[in-house]
Amino acid sequence: MDGLFESHTIVMRPFEAGYRPALQAYLNHPDLAGRRYIPWGYPELAPLSEHQVEQIIQEWNESKKGFHLAVIQRESSNLIGHIECDWEWDPHCPSISLTIGPPFQHHGYGEQVLQLQLGYLFNYTPAHTVTAWINDWNQDGLAFFSKHGFQNAGRLRRTGIHAGKYTDLVIMDMLRTEWLAGQGGQHGA
């Protein structure tokens, strides 16, 4: 049952036009404001229109150096999130992001998604290190990656303005050797 992009509770597959309403619903959820992981050029905080969300799906499906997938809850077939694996400038050091809609958080989906992403990148690509880029005010995001073995690599200072203050972007990384150690040193885990 467990393929490269599926676990016992979720399946990751390409976005289809039919996912637009569910995607728009969780992207516009206030708890996700500023951490939606949508393409550059779209507003970070303002509600997104149907047309904008359709454009985002189109952009995601046209990615050439990486991919975006929809996260589908196996039990209900509902869209619950989206992920990105991006090796824009060098497959040696891809970056990842994952977003779970607020109604579906704290059920273990994020952990399953992350393990599938890392398994794919370290088992099927030349990735030597994988990075995750998280706003410094996103304490849940920072704690999530830290809990799963990522190290704090530093920050891009002053990448935006949030709640009246400058914000930084924290970059966390995991080396292939660290991932292997977490898998008991075995490839193909």
């Binding site: 060098d90 050091c93 990075t131 530093g154 891009l156 200072r157 400058y166």
Partner: protein, 188 residues
């Protein structure tokens, strides 16, 4: 206002500069990319790229040829990219080895920084380099940049795993180093 420093003048790129730029890109020591590309660039490649540049009020980059003031010779290229208007940009510099160590790169960097802070009103300027390029790190530090990010072993180059470094200079840090300038932009 001319973009002029003590040692250099920064001016627009001209067709006559392109062969020099090809030569710098075809030398792995001056190529200045974190991922090495084959040193087989041709003048025709750069001419095509040059001709594609179009006028726009929404420019997100600027590219300047560095000329020495005393001889008018081509010394390299300094640029900014990834401009977020009124907020941030990323700079880069390539200098002919003939001018290494003579202050040309530092002067060009300072002229560009003054343009970015005084004219474009940026809040932060960044640059990318790596742990295998201590010369670039030192040059950036001389203008006040600090290493804010070290992505471990994220670069493979010259037969080595290297750390990818981001260095940045905040607006108030820049003005603190330049008491001759007054920052009239209110803080956020």
């Amino acid at each position: 206002m001319a973009l002029e420093g003590k040692l250099v003048i920064l001016r627009e790129q001209k067709r006559e500069d392109l062969q020099k730029l090809v030569d710098l890109r075809n030398d792995l020591e001056t190529q200045a990319w974190s991922v090495s590309l084959p040193p087989d660039f041709t003048l025709e490649m750069y001419q095509k790229r040059y001709e594609k540049r179009e006028f726009s009020f929404e420019r997100q980059d600027g590219q300047f040829t560095i000329l020495t003031k005393d001889t008018g010779e081509y010394a390299g290229l300094v640029s900014y990219t990834d401009l977020h208007p009124r907020f941030s940009a990323t700079i880069g510099i390539i200098v002919d080895k003939k001018y290494w160590g003579g202050g040309v790169a530092y002067d060009a960097q300072e002229v560009l920084l003054k343009f970015l802070y005084e004219e474009l009103g940026l809040r932060v300027v960044r640059l990318w380099t790596h742990s295998g390029n201590p010369r670039a790190v030192k040059l950036a530090q001389k203008s006040g940049f600090k290493v804010s990010l070290r992505m471990r072993e994220a670069i493979w180059k010259n037969g080595q795993l290297l750390d990818n470094l981001n260095m940045d200079l905040l607006r108030e840090e820049y003005y603190a180093l330049h008491p001759e300038l007054i920052d009239g932009l209110p803080e956020i």
